[in-house]
């Protein structure tokens, strides 16, 4: 059986007045992620095949995955499986890749979210809503020392919850792995 292929569905690019080393640090160290990633702490084993955890502010595991590529300060790729929300647990893992490129005294950061199945837009909407906030706030942390302070709660959109429920019931990925 061939390994399921990850297809990119969401890409976000931002340019940061920083160095690749500092951007790498901000992406891989909990004291930074806590500031811009809705209070979540990253725990990443520094090698391919290592474990990856994103811990919620209350200490529970929100995301769990595996390090696919660990190449400081250029590329970090990890699989993501949602553990913190019951309804999401059966969804196949996604692949999140950060590419860091130095560019004329700045850094180009590209986040790519890829999936192994044909994900409906209503589910992709969650990441498409969250990533711009997370990465805008990361840029602010590195450039000003302060994250974007939000007063609004940013949970999954209601249509997303319905789409996840529907996907878990129908399991379209089981069908697509037969070669369709």
């Amino acid at each position: 059986m061939s390994e399921p292929k990850f297809v990119p569905n969401t890409v976000y690019v931002t340019y940061i007045a920083s160095t690749p080393e500092k951007v790498w640090e901000a992406l891989t160290r909990a004291e930074f992620t806590r500031q811009y990633f809705f209070g979540h702490s990253i725990e990443v084993e520094p090698k391919a095949g290592g474990s990856f955890i994103l811990r919620a502010p209350d200490g529970s595991v929100h995301m769990r995955g595996r390090v696919v590529e660990y190449d400081p300060p250029r590329r970090l790729a990890t699989t993501w499986s949602v553990e913190g929300m019951e309804a999401f647990r059966e969804l196949p893992a996604s692949l999140v890749t950060y590419d860091i490129e130095p560019m004329g005294g700045s850094v180009k950061l590209t986040m790519t979210e890829a999936h192994q199945w044909e994900v409906p837009d209503a589910i992709l909407a969650g990441g498409r809503q969250g990533w711009p906030f997370i990465l805008s706030s990361l840029k602010s942390v590195l450039e000003t020392g302060k994250p974007i302070a939000v007063s609004v709660k940013m949970g999954p959109p209601p249509e997303m919850m319905a789409a996840v429920k529907d996907a878990v019931a129908k399991k379209p990925w089981a069908r697509s792995s037969t070669g369709l």
Binding site: T14, Y15, P132, S136, S140, T144, A149, V150
Partner: protein, 167 residues
Amino acid sequence: MSELKFVYVTYIATTPERLWQALTDGAFTRQYWFGTTVESDWSPGSRVTFRSGGEVHDSGEVLDCVPCRRLSYSWQVEFHEVFRREKPSRVTFELEPIGSAEVKLTVTHDEFEPGSKVHAAVSNGWPMILSSLKSLLETGHASTLTGPDKQRGARERAIALAAGTAA
């Protein structure tokens, strides 16, 4: 075939008033937009010009203007023949305050021709320009990547991208 569309969202620690000024005042745009000075009286139907180094390189018409909330204009790229022969596309800025001093900015660029070369060029350009705009408002300094001295490089990159999509 799905329609070509570019959407970019960024969150900026600023007020809607300051962000509005940064989008509509040429003295600001020049700092973060590869030296481009935008000019218009911002009344619906009025002309918008994008000038750098004294020459008009793009132009458009104001379609909708709700100060500090929403700005939309048509966009005709004029600086190179490969773009000039396409019909105008449309750019819309939506500003949404999310806190006392934080704004969600959504930029939607759409109404492209099928296979548009302008789409390929702006998809590369907007993240640079909008990242630089955010830096300018939050730190007082635009990105060195989008300064007036990078104007030539930006145009050459746009033309190269357009050539790439022809393949």
